[in-house]
Symmetry: C2
Subunit: 321 residues, 2 copies
């Protein structure tokens, strides 16, 4: 019996020593950190440069991880493993050769689109979804080849179903919930969830209030009931956590997430909503695990959802095909 | 007794299947390929992308190498290992964070300058040599930390002596000869060679005619006599080969090497001189080894100069400090 792992497969904080210490206080094994929303290749590289500085400066707290073994090493060392991912394919620009370059630089997840149409697929806020593009089909093959995981968290229905179908390796939805629970196109239909599970993919449940029934006031029990219903539908082994936790960011950041450089109209006055009382930061994963136990998951299922399912997914996903 | 390795620590060809097959025909274990002369970061990345295509297309002939173990693996697999290096620090631009990024992308050698003054040090064609710059001192520390080898082949005297002194790890002169043999500032003084040897660095002897006494007509025996004299001065264990072999490139390429983007005056009508009759391409390393034996080197010394000394250097140089 190995000590369970806690893996959060999506965060975007104003990273700091305080947050890294909270990760350690919360016994968090690994965090997938977003390193690109709208950044082009060179801008994304500058973000990795900043992470490299943090890896040096806070080497007692965090380390880079590019594999499941790196995550296990972090656990053994008492550090939190940081994985890199993109919420937009902007870092590969229009250049398929950058897929392998980005993987070599450490990226392990890439969304085929953020909220808008990308060169590869369609985002959930577009009125039309023409599906995976010509370049998208090529990039899926290349991502499969090198071990860069396709993430469709922000993509729309048709594009997501097509990506699951086109990909020869399981894909991820790192941070979303069922739309049958909170009705928003940002969440995922039962069709998508079933296709994901049948293809051996994993979904990370989001704790971001806009994705929760009841928003910031969503009770823990309601969240765990939703997890249990999803487990009945696609199997508990396909479930994980992708909290979408944002800490220490001013509201100008959510404006930038939404508006990037593609509109002069701004992000519609978006603000970060308050997180649920039972999930304020990295020290609160124990609350979620307790809630899952209370709702009736057994110990193995709880360990799977809290981290082991993602670790198994990392082991089979990050290497060459 | 292990089968000896053949390592050429500098080539810049118009790479092709024909050349990769010549490497295999010549039983060449590893080649350090220049991937930047004047390229900025993004342009250098595009060169790696091209190499990645070749690694896929010609996976039976070549493979990437980022370590001594990768070189040994290539030998066991019957492939030639390709190492990446820069002849100019242009890929790191003015950004010290790019040192680690470039190392992660596979670069293992970087000259602190090409022929001109760089942000880091002085090239051999400058009339003045103010030595290693403020940024140069910082970059040397960073290269030492991550395992990116300092190469001073094209740098001038004072900068080279200072780099050897400042670096806490042995440096390389990947491709040059003693100026006492062929008097050009592009070659290296006895002071530089002694400082290199005392600091446990390695020099790769160049077979480029402009660096040879007698140019293209230099007899093999004269070359080997020069090697023997250098061995007497600094020890055979500090010697290797860095042929500076250029194949299949039009003369416009040597013009570009010299003129880059820094002058509108062109490269002075430079042309590639014919290589010596006894070293035409990758199939001729046996001639050099035979010449070294004929001049009196013992078998171990010949194996060292033809590759093992570089392999030992790779083993201690490419990892974190």
């Amino acid at each position: 019996m190995t000590d369970p792992v806690i893996i959060d497969n999506l965060q975007y904080a104003n990273w700091s020593e305080e947050i890294f210490r909270q990760m350690r206080d919360g016994n968090v094994t690994a965090v997938h950190a977003t390193i690109a929303y709208h950044e082009n290749f060179r801008e994304m590289v500058a973000v990795i440069e900043q992470w490299n500085r943090w890896f040096e400066e806070f080497s007692d707290l965090i380390r880079f991880a590019g594999s499941g073994d790196d995550v296990r090493a972090a656990k053994a060392e008492g550090r939190t493993a940081i994985l890199f991912g993109f919420q937009n394919p902007s870092p590969i620009e229009d250049d398929i050769g950058l897929v392998e370059i980005c993987h070599r630089l450490g990226a392990r997840f890439m969304q085929l689109s953020y909220n808008n149409q990308s060169l590869l697929a369609t985002g959930w806020q577009e009125p039309e979804d023409p599906g995976v593009t010509r370049m998208g089909r090529e990039v899926i093959k290349e991502m499969n080849r090198v071990g860069l995981v396709i993430d469709m968290s922000h993509s729309s229905e048709r594009s997501t179903l097509e990506a699951i179908e086109l990909s020869e390796r399981p894909i991820a939805i790192t941070h979303a919930n069922p739309s049958s629970w909170r009705d928003t196109k940002r969440n995922k239909s039962d069709d998508v969830l079933r296709a994901l599970g049948e293809s051996d993919g994993v979904i990370g449940f989001s704790l971001y209030p806009n994705h929760l029934a009841g928003g910031s006031d969503c009770p823990l029990e309601d969240f765990c009931t939703m997890v249990a219903r999803t487990a009945e539908m696609i199997g508990a082994e396909h479930l994980g956590i992708g909290s979408d936790l944002v800490q220490g960011q001013p509201d100008s950041v959510v404006e930038w997430m939404r508006a990037g450089r593609w509109t002069k109209a701004g992000g519609g006055g978006a603000v970060f909503p308050p997180m649920p009382s039972w999930f304020q930061d990295n020290r609160d994963f124990g609350n979620v695990a307790n809630g899952l136990r209370a709702i009736g998951f057994n110990a193995e299922e709880v360990d799977g959802i809290m981290g082991q399912n993602w670790l198994d997914f990392f082991d089979k996903s990050f290497g060459p095909a």
